[in-house]
């Protein structure tokens, strides 16, 4: 703690602040991304979709309500490092179990604070996503290091974050399989809240194994990384489409469903990460504020027949969700499960439930 620590970016710029959490090591390297959410740092820390990334909080005061394990979205943080302007030494909340520094130390996550996070964010916005390295080595830094930084490629993250064996969450209602690519816990909570029993299965599960469970529906979860790195999953997903099992995709799940059907994805300049992204439902004209965390998007113009654009991002017009006209399926790029962020699109789980019910009754497409 308090050790001068520097974030070095691949373009050679650097920010020196103080370290907190675990000390950085040679492996504290990865893509630097920022999130603009003002609350929900615990959910951010434990969101597996941040796997391999150095995450910057644009809101300057982090850790105010301490560490609350029941708000975690997975068992442990998967991000590579955590960067804030200021972390709270004196958190205050009736559920708080400690402060951020101690938690990050326990979890082996290096942190950096007391830097100009806004200047860093502007840099990332203007240059686009960059790799970065957290180090206690003082500047200057040589070109060799920068070249190495530019060339850095994180290992494919989905296998690292998916659960290693299936997990059953019993309940009274029909079974929904959650295909875990790095699933946030609240996806499961939302399904349980609607009466479904849930079977969460690892990413490497085969379609046959899923269908063998005779699920009433399958939810393809969020997860980290570039969707095209997961090509072995696409044939499996196509089998689910063929089986006409009701499907809902969220974030990476959404992208993988689209890829499986022949659409393309594209890397966004600096991604959408935050709790304030407005998304328009093209059918109703309604705009909802959504929680988002993604660096890639489905290319709207690449959507094949049978896939209709349903949601768009009001800010940059990118694809935020589609519905399948030839299958009981739909998917969204944003996070209807919130945690953190607005719960305004939680109704999509109701829609999924309705879709499952309808499908059970009539076998018809859900939307």
């Amino acid at each position: 703690m308090e050790q001068p620590t520097t974030l070095l970016l691949e373009n050679g710029s650097w920010f020196t602040g103080k370290g907190f959490g675990a000390p950085p090591d040679d492996g504290t390297v990865g893509e630097v991304v920022f999130t603009t959410a003002m609350t929900g740092y615990l959910e951010t820390l434990t969101d597996p979709s941040y796997c391999g990334q150095l995450v910057v909080q644009t809101f300057p005061l982090i850790g105010n309500y301490g560490v609350i394990p029941e708000d975690f979205e997975s068992t442990r943080p998967r991000l590579t490092a955590y960067i804030v302007k200021e972390w709270s030494h004196t958190p205050s909340n009736f559920r708080s179990a400690g402060d951020l520094d101690r938690y990050l130390r326990e979890q082996g996550i290096p942190g950096l604070y007391n830097i100009d996070t806004r200047a860093l964010t502007r840099l990332l916005r203007d240059y686009g996503v960059m790799n970065g390295l957290l180090t206690t080595q003082a500047p200057p830094y040589d070109e060799k290091l920068l070249a190495k930084l530019r060339g850095h490629r994180s290992p494919r993250p989905v296998p690292l974050v998916t659960r290693q064996k299936a997990e059953h969450f019993p309940n009274d209602g029909p079974l929904v399989v959650v295909w875990d690519f790095g699933a946030k816990q609240n996806l499961i909570r939302e399904l349980l809240a609607r009466g479904f029993s849930v079977l969460a299965v690892p990413s490497f599960t085969k379609a046959e194994e899923i269908l063998a469970q005779k699920p009433a529906g399958v939810l393809l979860s969020n997860g980290p990384g570039d969707p095209v790195d997961n090509s072995e999953l696409l044939p499996e997903i196509r089998k689910l489409f063929d089986a006409k099992v009701p499907m809902m995709g969220v974030c990476l799940g959404h992208q993988l469903m689209a890829l499986a059907r022949g659409a393309q994805t594209v890397k966004l300049p600096f991604g959408h990460r935050g709790a304030n992204q407005p998304v328009k439902d093209l059918e109703t004209g309604r705009v909802s504020v959504t929680s988002q965390n993604h660096g890639y998007a489905v290319k709207t113009e690449s959507l094949p027949d049978g896939v209709a654009l349903r949601f768009v991002n009001c800010n940059d017009g990118t694809c935020e969700g589609v519905e399948y006209t030839d299958a009981p399926a739909f998917s969204v790029q944003f996070h209807p499960e919130a945690c953190g962020g607005p719960r305004d699109t939680g109704y999509l789980f109701d829609r999924f439930a309705a879709c499952i019910k309808e499908s059970q009754q009539e076998g018809s497409p859900c939307l």
Partner: protein, 1072 residues
């Protein structure tokens, strides 16, 4: 959804005079709404009785009516203007209530006027306590157990069932007027009866107290299609129990976990949807700090003080969006002007912290009850933006103009531990400083949390500041420590004082961050900045990118609204900016008041939202490198900067810092007057009570005593005796032991006021205003009449000539305000201020002469001769105009209502009419004087007034008013042949003036006393009683005489004619 097709013309009702609970924020909202509607091609008709506002300007609305906000007048204006719509949600509670009444009586429907923003059903669901409760219950939102009652007995009975403490909230009152927390039956009886009386519908809500819970607010928006967003969350540092207007507020909410935050956010969105608001809405919640339990405290289906704060805190223009939604646009069809790239349908992401600090009038009202509770007492507020809570809090404290630059309040040092604890528990305006003092002494955060229920997180931040202060005192001032202190928000002056070190390490370069609504996610080109020492700067690159090659002027605003320095200075500042822009300047504004138009990011070319101290000002100047700065329009706050900036070599446009000093320095000014052969009352400058007594006795009583360099006559007193001198000097020297105090011979006579523009060669006087009350009542509290009605031609010429010579001699370039008194047919100068004044908006509007613009052009070197408005005294306009002060006495218990040299009014209204009498009638009506001659008049005047009382009393008697008087006054009246009933004084009998008042027989009181102020005095008690009972209480014979003259004319509201003021400033060709 496009603009509603049937709309061409929209009526907007303003919020009326500035009173506590309803201040400048509605001028900001109204001005923004007018602009938003005109952008859509709509014709805007504006009605507001408040002449000091920017919204009531021909440049803002198409038709402007400065008229009493009465139903009768509104009906007339609607019939005359035939608007298609009425926007109900912009003019505060006043606008909302009037809109509701017009809708409810069917008048709007009858005249084809659509109610926009909030439907009648929406308003009633939000405003009627029972319907509100039903609505909340129907959507499962918890409300605090409560019941509406209409009598005290029911209140007591209900309180038994929910147990004490209970909160009393009267229906339809401003800022919680008449409410309070009752701990037992006795307190409830008192508060409930008061609340019932003050509620216009005689309803109060008795509610279980959740005092100590967190108080959280959400500003939410909804459009006609049902899209909903939250603009901003806010957290009160002071838990439930202190009115949010009196609370220190942070934005966004800082101590809520996402679970709590989203729970309340979702609740706010459900509420606005259930109410069906089309526009903005404010939802206040109480949140149990120990569980997820929460309750809805209050919902306002309209723009509010909080929405103004939220707009400035986030950069999201709530009133603008609300106005557009009201006329049919959807949120996603409104552009986010800040990014230019995104729509208004998003939620701002902040990457800074905002702290709001209230501005209370207790420095003026020494005897006011300072305890904070459910009744708001602040007159204004400042906002500060920082990258840490500490930094924002420090900026707020030094920006509040309370003589502090750190939270260390010296007088608390002397308190014992017990006294300090008592002070903390007293929950007054200084509580946060007492908490800080306790932290400095080592009292634990846990103990202070137990005492105050302030969240530990906030207490820890205050502890950080206390700890920095200790380090600055005790440790060596290394560069590291210095920079750390700067980042925490410490000004150099404080660091020098604390460290005892004069020479500081090299300064950090000026650095500003941008408010961009999106946490830097999108590139924004908003010129809205706040200082962020030690971080990378965004202002210089912005300036480089946007350089137009024009010279730059920096305009300093007027800071928080307070008694003596109100919205009129924002009017002048904004017009100054507009004039400078027209003259070819780029304009940067510096101000820290979130309620104002001047702090709208697109008023100037650039906005620096920072405190108005010399150090902060110099930083902006370092960044902007202006051709010059303007200090003449921002009241005393800005003018105080003239000297330090001038000393630092900054060019001050207009009257030079030396000219300003010449007017304010007693000795220099006297010498100047003497050289000009202009008279003023004899006087002395003193420093001690002994000197003051000598001066008073040499000059002869009565004398006027006041500290030099003040605005609004703070601690100014008319002294008739040695005792008065003792009292006043005590007050002044306690506030500032170093103060120069002026003791002047008091000259009784007619008071006149002149605003003039001077270009260094010529002087233009738009008009002369005459006060109804003789000298001795502060000019801000006097009824002022334009044009002067009993000034001879000869005296007029003399006055014009004196003004011209004085303005030239002072070297005025721009505006000067001079007050005169005519005593025994001789003109004396009372004071001259080479700056914009309180009367500038009023006189500009009624004469149609754009004074601020002419002043700015004069400052820049243009000549009046070339401006087309002539020189000398302008010919009187077609209308008479009467400014009537408005007070907030019902909000400030303990304050004596007797008018004197110390200003007490919070706002003003204007009556405009073809005759002076009608104008006066309109003014009094607009100010809320319920004039009726069917009830009695109670008169008790001081001995010095007795010689003049008989004719005034006779006037009331002739109107049929039964007269009541205390013994001495009664004897005088009988001697004059009047019939009068003698009433005993309070201490004389159990049947006395107080019981007479309570009996309801009296419709008006005339009360003057030689002494006042101290609440225990009979005369003060009587006047306070009048306030509580809502009985007009006159404290000047002149006001009483004027009122009698109006009553004699038997004006009726129905006979009044509305006057469109915008037509006065319109070019001839466009006049209707």
């Amino acid at each position: 959804m496009p603009l509603k097709p049937n709309l061409k013309k929209v009526l907007l009702i303003g919020s009326g005079p500035i009173v506590i609970g309803q201040a400048a924020e509605f001028d900001y909202a109204g001005t923004q709404a007018c602009r938003a509607l005109r952008e859509e091609g709509l014709n805007v008709v504006l009605v507001n009785s408040n002449p000091a506002t920017i919204m009531t300007d021909g440049a803002i609305a198409d038709e402007v009516y400065v008229e009493p906000l009465t139903l009768s007048m509104l009906r007339k204006i609607i019939i005359k203007e035939k608007p298609d719509g009425l926007l109900s949600t912009i003019g505060g509670q006043m606008g909302l209530t009037l809109s509701m009444q017009l809708a409810r009586e069917g008048f709007l429907k009858e005249h084809g006027v659509e109610l926009l923003g909030a439907s009648l059903d929406t308003i009633e669901k939000a405003e009627d306590r029972e319907r509100f409760k039903e609505t909340m219950e129907s959507i499962g939102e918890p409300v605090i157990p409560s019941r509406v009652v209409t009598d005290v007995e029911s209140a007591l009975a209900y309180a038994q069932t929910i147990r004490y403490p209970v909160v009393v909230r009267p229906a339809f009152t401003l800022g919680g007027t008449g409410g309070g927390i009752a701990a037992d039956e006795k307190e409830l009886t008192e508060i409930a009866s008061n609340g019932l009386r003050l509620s216009p519908i005689h309803q109060i809500l008795v509610e279980k107290s959740v005092s100590g819970w967190k108080e959280i607010e959400f500003e939410v928006m909804r459009d006609g299609a049902g899209n909903v967003i939250t603009v901003c969350s806010m957290e009160n540092l002071d838990p439930v129990g202190v009115h949010t207007g009196d609370s220190i507020v942070a934005a966004p909410a800082l101590t809520l976990a996402d679970k709590e935050y989203q729970t309340l956010r979702s609740a706010a969105l459900r509420i606005i949807s259930a109410l069906g608001v089309e526009g903005g809405c404010n939802c206040q919640f109480a949140l149990d700090p120990e569980s997820f339990r929460y309750a809805v405290i209050e919902v306002n289906p309209r723009v509010s003080r909080s929405s103004a704060l939220a707009s400035k805190a986030t950069g999201y223009p709530i009133a603008r969006a609300a106005a557009k939604i009201a006329v049919g646009l959807r949120l996603d069809e409104i552009r986010n002007e800040i990014t230019g790239k995104t729509s208004a349908c998003f939620e701002p992401a902040l990457d800074y912290v905002v702290v709001k600090f209230p501005k209370w009038p207790f420095d003026k009202f020494l005897y006011a009850n300072r305890k904070l509770g459910t009744q708001m007492k602040a007159t204004g507020e400042v906002m500060a933006i920082g990258r840490s809570f500490e930094q924002a809090f420090m900026k707020a404290v030094r920006g509040a103009e309370i003589s502090l630059d750190t939270p260390h309040l010296a007088k608390l040092e002397r308190m014992t531990a017990d006294e300090l604890k008592a002070k903390i528990l007293a929950q007054d305006d200084e509580r946060v400083f007492a908490v800080y003092e306790a932290l400095s002494r080592g009292v634990t955060i846990g103990e202070l949390h137990r005492l105050t229920k302030i969240d530990e997180w906030f207490l820890a931040k205050l502890w950080n500041l206390a700890s920095m202060e200790r380090r600055l005192r005790e440790d060596k001032l290394t560069p590291e420590l210095y920079y750390e202190a700067k980042k925490m928000g410490y000004p150099d002056k404080a660091i020098r004082r604390l460290s005892g070190q004069e020479k500081l390490p090299p300064a950090l370069p000026a650095a500003y961050k941008m408010v961009d609504t999106c946490g830097a996610e999108f590139e924004a080109e908003t010129p809205y900045f706040y200082s962020s020492p030690g971080e990378s700067d965004e202002a210089a690159p912005f300036l480089a990118r946007h350089s137009s090659g024009k010279p730059t002027a920096v305009v300093f605003g007027s800071g928080p609204i307070r008694i003596g320095q109100g919205i009129e200075f924002d009017y002048a500042s904004v017009h100054c900016v507009m004039a400078l822009k027209r003259a070819g300047y780029e304009v940067a504004i510096v101000n820290n008041n979130p309620e104002t138009v001047s702090t709208d990011f697109n008023t100037g070319d650039r906005l620096y939202f920072d405190p108005l101290t010399p150090e902060d000002a110099m930083r902006v100047i370092e960044m902007e490198k202006p051709a010059g700065v303007v200090v003449a329009f921002g009241g005393q706050t800005a003018i105080k900067l003239a000297k330090p900036l001038g000393d630092a070599g900054v060019h001050v446009f207009g009257t030079s810092p030396d000219g300003i000093d010449l007017a304010e320095d007693r000795g220099r000014f006297d010498a100047l007057l003497e050289s000009l052969g202009i008279s003023r009352a004899a006087g002395r400058t003193v420093r001690t009570e002994q000197e003051a007594l000598e001066a008073a006795n040499t000059l002869g009583y009565p004398v006027l005593i006041r500290p030099s360099y003040v605005l609004g006559g703070q601690n100014m007193m008319l002294a008739f005796t040695d005792d008065d001198v003792h009292e006043t000097m005590g007050a002044i020297l306690t506030a500032n032991p170093e103060a120069d105090v002026l003791v002047d011979k008091y000259l009784m006579g007619t008071e006149l006021e002149v605003d003039a523009v001077c270009d260094g060669e010529d002087v233009l006087i738009p008009g002369i205003m005459e006060h109804i009350e003789r000298a001795g009542v502060h000019s801000g509290d006097s009824i002022a009449v334009y044009p002067a009605w009993n000034l001879s031609k000869e005296k007029t010429e003399e006055l014009v000539e004196d003004t011209r010579r004085l303005a030239l001699a002072l070297g005025v370039q721009g505006l000067v305000n001079i007050q005169y008194v005519i005593h025994e047919n001789k003109i004396y100068v009372i004071e001259a201020n080479p700056r914009s004044s309180r009367t500038i908006p009023y006189i500009s509007k009624v004469t149609g002469i754009p004074l601020v613009e002419l002043a700015v052009r004069s400052m820049l070197g243009e000549k009046l001769r070339d401006m087309g408005y002539g020189t000398g005294l302008a010919a009187p306009g077609p209308y008479h105009a009467v400014k009537v002060p408005v007070f907030s006495f019902e909000k400030l218990s303990g304050v004596d209502t007797q008018l004197g040299p110390e200003m007490k009014s919070t706002g003003e209204v204007l009556g405009v009419a073809p005759t002076m009498e009608e104008a006066l009638y309109k003014g009094l009506l607009a100010a809320g004087y319920h004039m009726r001659s069917d009830k009695g008049m109670l008169i008790c005047v001081r001995d010095s007034d007795k010689s003049e009382i008989a004719p005034i009393a006779a006037a009331y008697a002739s109107l049929g008013c039964p007269l009541y008087a205390t013994e001495g006054t009664a004897a005088t009246l009988r001697k004059a042949g009047l019939t009068v009933e003698t009433v005993k004084k309070i201490h004389e009998s159990r049947e006395n003036t107080m019981t007479l008042l309570e009996s309801g027989k009296v419709g008006c009181i005339l009360s003057t006393s030689a002494k006042g102020r101290i609440p225990a005095r009979d005369s003060v008690k009587l006047r306070r009683k009048a306030v509580e009972l809502g009985v007009p209480c006159l404290t000047s014979l002149d006001t009483a005489a004027a009122l009698a003259s109006i009553l004699k004319r038997h004006f009726r509201e129905e006979d009044l004619t509305p006057v469109d003021l915008a037509s006065l400033s319109r070019p001839e060709s466009q006049k209707k």
